[in-house]
């Protein structure tokens, strides 16, 4: 019997739309779950996924990927790569594992939404595999750090983080619940697969893989880039959807979700990936700056993909590009200053070599962020460590839940964007975060930032200790300077040598 080639039967086999006889179309695909925007089933038949894969092919390829990731881990397990790596790199791992693994289960839920409620058969097929991908990502990223738990208790946060009210996790959940868990299939496809996965996951899962390779952490490099091979497949769910929406006059709706989620993803990644690339990774191993990775993956590549599909550049694009110069530095400074409330030990990253690198990659750094680090450095040199700890809490944005921050120095640019809505005051870090809120104020109005909770008396006692306990950060997990201030002594020695 002659066998047909896959391309000869794939479209027919996955065309599983039918005319429901016992229920209405809206009962089978409730509009709020499918995000169908009034487009009938027939309008979805033209969805043509660029990536055609059958389930047996999926299993075969995934098996090979897993064999690769797990065998590299097994081969390197008894090496002492972790112990020998710089504490800054160890903090990259802690930050990554606390921030992402459990969110992958939310992503799996999001894929499941598309697999069941997507009106396009091709979307359902791709999302079925995407759903399995995301489970793989959660399990890989929980299994890999598990071996590190006995070496350092902070790795417990790989599994624990999302069960806590840690400020950074409140920020991550606010985004991921919004983007992945609580929207219809079309909005998930636009926000998660298109805006987030074709764009921003590359920053963390490829950019950081490049840094990991430089550091020599092949186990981590190999594992996260293996994850990105899944992403690059199921991220293609969103593209053909944009075509359907545009053909049915829904460009405005598509653009709105894409704009919201690009901005929201940008804010989170500037904090997590930005600090990891520009400060945590030892300066000798930094492949490129966060800004350079953003230019490679987001500006020259993702922006072009956006236009190629018929969408427009987000209205705030110039602001985003301008923010590339300071976002990672502002977040890093906050991480270090408020170091007791991190589940990782934050490196300062301001030795002479670091500073030279920062000034080269971000001209003007010394005149802005550098001046603040000068004060911190002097205080530490003079034994006034107490002055380098915070006495107040940072003001958090009511959309991204991250500190309201910008570049310090003579041209002080920090600005609050306040808004009154139904008797409550909200504060935003940027015009775009305020715009996101105003798109769906009823959706967001009830959320309390950690500062709102503090002011409402929900955090007791209202002290640092009370806040640490509220965030489930227990002794042994709380952050401090990653290098135990050894960098200060290096600066002292250099200054003494120069003076002598």
């Amino acid at each position: 019997m002659a066998l047909l080639g896959r391309l000869d039967w794939y479209n027919l086999a996955r065309t599983t739309n039918w005319t429901p006889g016992y229920v209405t179309e809206d009962e089978l695909f409730p509009p709020e779950m499918s995000g169908s925007m009034g487009i009938p089933l027939s309008g979805w038949e033209g969805y043509d996924e660029p990536y055609k894969q059958t389930y047996p092919e999926y299993v075969k390829v995934q098996r090979e990927k897993d064999a690769g990731a797990y065998s590299v881990k097994a081969a390197l397990e008894r090496s002492d790569i972790y112990e020998k790596s710089d504490p800054g790199w160890q903090s990259v791992l802690k930050l990554h594992y606390g921030a992402f693994p459990r969110a992958e289960y939310s992503a799996s839920t999001a894929e499941a939404r598309m697999a069941r409620f997507g009106k396009a058969p091709g979307m359902r097929n791709m999302a079925t595999m995407g759903m399995l991908d995301e489970m793989r990502h959660a399990q890989l990223q929980l299994y890999f750090p598990h071996e590190l738990c006995p070496k350092d208790r902070q790795f417990d946060w790989a599994h624990k983080s999302y069960d806590t009210n840690h400020w950074a996790i409140v920020a991550a959940r606010h985004l991921f619940d919004d983007m992945m868990v609580t929207r219809g299939a079309s909005e998930v496809a636009l926000g998660l697969t298109f805006a987030f996965e074709t764009g921003f996951t590359n920053m963390q899962f490829l950019g950081l893989a490049a840094d990991a390779a430089e550091v020599g952490d092949w186990s981590f490099s190999n594992m996260i880039s293996s994850i990105q091979t899944d992403e690059s497949r199921h991220a293609q769910i969103g593209g053909p959807l944009v075509g359907i929406l545009l053909a049915n006059g829904k460009k405005q709706e598509a653009q709105r979700i894409v704009d919201m989620m690009i901005w929201r993803a940008w804010k989170l990644f500037a904090a997590v990936t930005g600090a990891a690339m520009d400060y945590f990774t030892p300066v000798a191993d930094r492949k490129m700056s966060f800004k350079e990775f953003m230019l490679e993956w987001i500006v020259s590549q993702f922006e072009r993909a956006l236009l190629d599909l018929g969408l427009d550049k987000p209205w705030y694009w110039d602001q985003l590009v301008a923010d590339l110069d300071h976002a990672s530095h502002a977040m890093q400074m906050g991480f270090w200053f408020w170091r007791p409330i991190m589940w990782w030990n934050n490196p300062a990253g301001v030795t002479a070599e670091d500073r030279a690198w920062l000034e080269e990659k971000y001209p003007g750094w010394s005149e802005t962020f550098g001046t603040v680090w000068d004060v911190i450095t002097d205080n530490l040199l003079e034994g006034k460590k107490g002055l380098t700890y915070p006495e107040t809490l940072p003001m958090l944005c009511n959309m991204c839940q991250l500190p309201i921050a910008s570049a310090p120095g003579p041209a002080w640019k920090v600005r609050d964007f306040p808004l009154e809505y139904k008797g409550r005051s909200y504060h935003f870090c940027s015009e775009a975060c305020q715009w996101c809120f105003e798109q769906e104020p009823e959706r967001y109005k009830g959320h309390l930032s950690l500062i709102d909770r503090f002011l409402a008396g929900m955090i007791q006692p209202p002290t640092l200790e009370g806040a640490l306990n509220y965030m489930s950060l227990y002794p042994g997990e709380r952050g401090d300077d990653a290098h135990n201030y050894a960098w200060v002594e290096k600066i002292r020695a250099a200054r003494q040598k120069a003076a002598a």
């Binding site: 391309l7 660029p50 390829v61 090979e64 390779a213 690059s232 020259s300 072009r304 236009l307």
Partner: protein, 90 residues
């Protein structure tokens, strides 16, 4: 990059592959299957960015020859971490 606002105006296409045998085979196949075109391969240690302008052809047989073993096109995914431009299989 001197002008950020212009950097998206490019017409580069091609796969980004994790470092390894397959990535090398694909970059070699890109040279063979696209005669007369300039193929650029940026080595980022963890990954290779294999690109050309406009359109890039990749044939299964060529990749097979470069790898020295049987290969089916969907195995590209094992190491493909991004696809720049739109892809079509035939």
């Amino acid at each position: 990059m001197s002008d950020i606002s212009q950097s998206h105006i490019n017409n580069k296409v091609g796969p980004v592959m994790r470092q390894g045998d397959l990535a090398k085979a694909v970059s070699e196949a890109a040279e063979i299957d696209n005669p007369g075109k300039t193929i650029t391969v940026e080595d980022k240690l963890a990954y290779l960015r294999i690109q050309t302008d406009g359109e890039m052809f990749l044939q299964r047989q060529t990749i097979e020859e470069m790898l020295g073993r049987p290969f089916s096109m969907n195995e590209l995914e094992v190491d493909r971490i991004a696809q720049i431009g739109r892809s079509r299989a035939s």
